[in-house]
Symmetry: C2
Subunit: 471 residues, 2 copies
């Protein structure tokens, strides 16, 4: 079954999994493929936003092309909100939310969705956790009843929890332990973040996942799952008035159970030391390198800064016409691939990444030096009006095409509202992209592509592939 939530576009770093079906689908967690901010273009008209008395935020995105609705409930809690030593609990709890409530025991919710021909999924990121269904519009109320019920009514037994832990551990094996690039990414993030929990794996450290209990899950649930910590997004063949009425009758009856304070995670100290690491894994067929820089997110950036990084990631390293690809793959013919990406949608400081794979005969160190040279040349050369316009038009156009997906639109608003953004910040993104100048892009590169703010990782088959002794 395709992963509806993260294969269509891979903007977000999130684990998406159909928890009831063992959560083994490989989703959009491949950070190297992520691109730009989630705060994409969206139609200014028609989108409604309101809040229920119990604190639940509601976004309605009308889309009348077909009599279907996309219903997403987003919680403002993710892996970066986990208590120390309990990494993985956000994702584990996401799985456990399919274990039923007193009112709707066992798999009744999922069975009902399936019975009406609907689809469902769930996803966990560092900053949010979400639950998603897509059904014919006449079933919307049913979904809302179910989802409101499990907002605070979850019942967990050891009989349900213990087997699900095995499922989650198997998922960790599939996604990370048996995936050399994911392993490298985990090591790079751990080395990049000196203090912030973004340095912990989204799925958790395996030894900590193994020790998670029913009590851990319930404690995390009670602390974070509450209407005053959630955002409901409904996209589809509905009006705001219809959704408001349904939301009042369903979610509106859920009492806030958690005291929700400001989301303050430990922040990074100044970064002063470039970091480098290597990972040898016998399964590696093609050596590669990645570097992650600590940069502002859409939420932490000064005005225009995050959009400049969006454009920079595109011009510098998106696709076969990008600077890095042209320099390293085409002109110098030393790489089989090279690119860059920016994960703008984050509550706290985030990552701008570059990556590349050398051609046989080129070492990783030579490739890395060539990338540094190419970046220096990029800064010296500036961005041509043509390249800039192409990048901006493409970013904006992609975001407009993406509106074709109801789920994508719902996802933009959900991700923005759970990471410090607003409806207006989503809707204003195309205009802000249009305002980015060539000087802004170069300035972003100069300011943020500072190796002292970075961790670089080499992925190799065995340590003898390292040409120097830094292994």
């Amino acid at each position: 079954m395709p992963n509806q939530l993260t294969t269509s576009t891979s903007i977000l770093k999130a684990i998406a999994c159909l928890a009831v079906a063992a959560g083994l689908h490989l989703g959009g967690a491949n950070a190297a493929a992520a691109q730009a901010s989630v705060a994409q273009a969206a139609p200014k008209s028609d989108v409604s936003y309101f809040k229920l008395a119990n604190g639940l935020e509601v976004v309605v995105v009308p889309d009348r092309r077909a009599p279907v609705v996309t219903h997403m409930l987003w919680y403002k809690v993710g892996a970066a909100d986990e208590p120390p030593g309990k990494s993985g609990i956000a994702h584990f709890l996401e799985h456990l939310l399919f274990k039923g409530t007193q009112k709707n025991p066992g798999g009744r919710f999922s069975q009902t969705v399936a019975a009406v021909g609907g689809q469902e999924n769930a996803f966990t990121s560092s900053d949010y956790t979400g639950y998603y269904q897509r059904v014919s519009k006449e079933h919307l109320r049913t979904l809302m009843d179910f989802e409101a019920d499990r907002m605070t009514g979850l019942v967990l037994t050891d009989e349900a929890v213990v087997p699900e832990l095995k499922v989650v551990l198997e998922e960790q094996s599939q996604r990370v332990a048996n995936n050399p690039r994911a392993r490298l990414g985990e090591q790079i993030e751990a080395a990049l973040f000196l203090n912030h929990p973004y340095g912990r794996p989204l799925i958790g450290w395996r030894h900590e996942i193994e020790a998670l209990t029913r009590e851990d899950a319930l404690a995390f649930y009670r602390q974070h799952y509450s209407p005053n910590n959630a955002v409901l997004v409904v996209a589809g063949d509905v009006t705001a008035d219809e959704v408001r009425a349904l939301a009042e009758e369903t979610y509106g009856k859920v009492k806030p159970v958690a005291q929700i304070g400001p989301r303050r995670r430990p922040q990074e100290p100044p970064h002063v030391s470039p970091r480098f690491l290597s990972l040898a894994d016998a399964r590696v067929q093609q050596p590669s390198m990645q570097r992650s820089y600590l940069v502002p997110s859409a939420t932490t950036a000064k005005p225009g800064e995050s959009e400049s990084l969006d454009v920079l990631a595109y011009v510098l390293g998106h696709g076969n016409t990008s600077w890095l690809y042209r320099k390293l793959v085409v002109e110098r013919d030393i790489a089989v691939g090279a690119g860059s990406w920016y994960r703008g949608t984050a509550l706290d400081q985030t990552i701008f990444g570059i990556y590349g794979s050398p051609k046989p005969g080129t070492t990783l160190s030579q490739l890395e030096q060539a990338m540094d040279t190419a970046i220096a040349e990029f800064i010296a050369a500036g961005v041509s009006a043509q390249d800039l316009d192409r990048a901006k038009n493409r970013l904006i156009a992609d975001s407009i095409y993406a509106r074709d997906s109801q789920a994508t639109m719902a996802r933009w608003f959900g991700a923005a509202l759970t990471t410090g953004g607003t409806i207006a910040s989503v809707q204003g993104w195309p205009d802000r992209i249009r305002a980015v100048s060539a000087a802004d892009v170069i300035n972003a590169a100069k300011t943020w592509l500072d190796k002292r703010r970075s961790a670089t990782g080499y992925l190799i088959k065995d340590a003898s592939q390292l040409e120097d002794k830094r292994s």
Copy 2:
């Protein structure tokens, strides 16, 4: 004023500071000078251990050479027990404990110690926090009254807290920000520990210290300062019966205020990636390199393993007759210094460090490669009976000489009992050192000096001193 607690021997990684006198003394935090476990030799005879009804552990170490006593109260809480985002609170609270109680306001405690010609100090480590006085024996009860009073009776006003925060920030400037080697050590520890709070600076990240408040300090105090979370060590011209009677009358009246659970910190995942970093600091006169390996502590090790690391650190890198010094400074003449150390006294996994400074004409990378070669040669050559015996005799003899200091003996027991050790483990240390074989030492080197478990740092004047592009 000399720092009584940490200059005499530099075994512990701790910040010692006379908090009332601004805490600016540079203490034994220089990890590169640390050596061996705190679990040193101590006389088997005479040491008493008992527990009061309120949970306070008491150790009495008779020492009748002079009519003085050393009184130390140790809390089983340190920087590694700090909540996320509040780094520095353990050390800040140590300073604030000199701000007085309702019964003994302001500086009355310190003034009393001074008035009777005594000395006092305090210290914070990752695992414990301690308060120390040395006075004529007739004043022991007075100290115990004061110290028992501030165990739960601390009164903090913003008038007292705000200026002390400036003192602590100034201390951070002196100890770390203006000390290139300390800055490098901070970066290496942050890169070495992927999950455990030992990766945070003991003194705290500056941006987090700046935000600490009176409420943070009181919350940490109430959570950890309680007789059932403390160890009283009295060394000097006293009997166990005398101390017991005095302790019952003073500390015995303090009710436990905190529920003390097991001390469980987030543990490390398997280490798979060698890490490397560099720090450029214009104040550097002599480039140097340090490497820290993640290794077992006396508390986490299998039997004999920590003692093997004690001997390894000595044979490999203690003093001018050690293997590294002979190979790199004497024979190859490429280093001005080289050595190794082991911080065995820790509740969780700890550090084995190697370090060196190149001679002019040798690059850091060349020195690092030479160190790796020297370690490989050490493993291949084995340890001669002569070298082994000399190291073991020296370690044991040093620990016997160190008994000459009342404070040192008190410190051994206090540090052991607050990091998972026992009286017996301290007393049995010489016998365990005697039992270490040459094969044990080589096995420890083979097992634990694995670069995948390490972070290496170069300290340079400016980035151009890096001979390759990893800067």
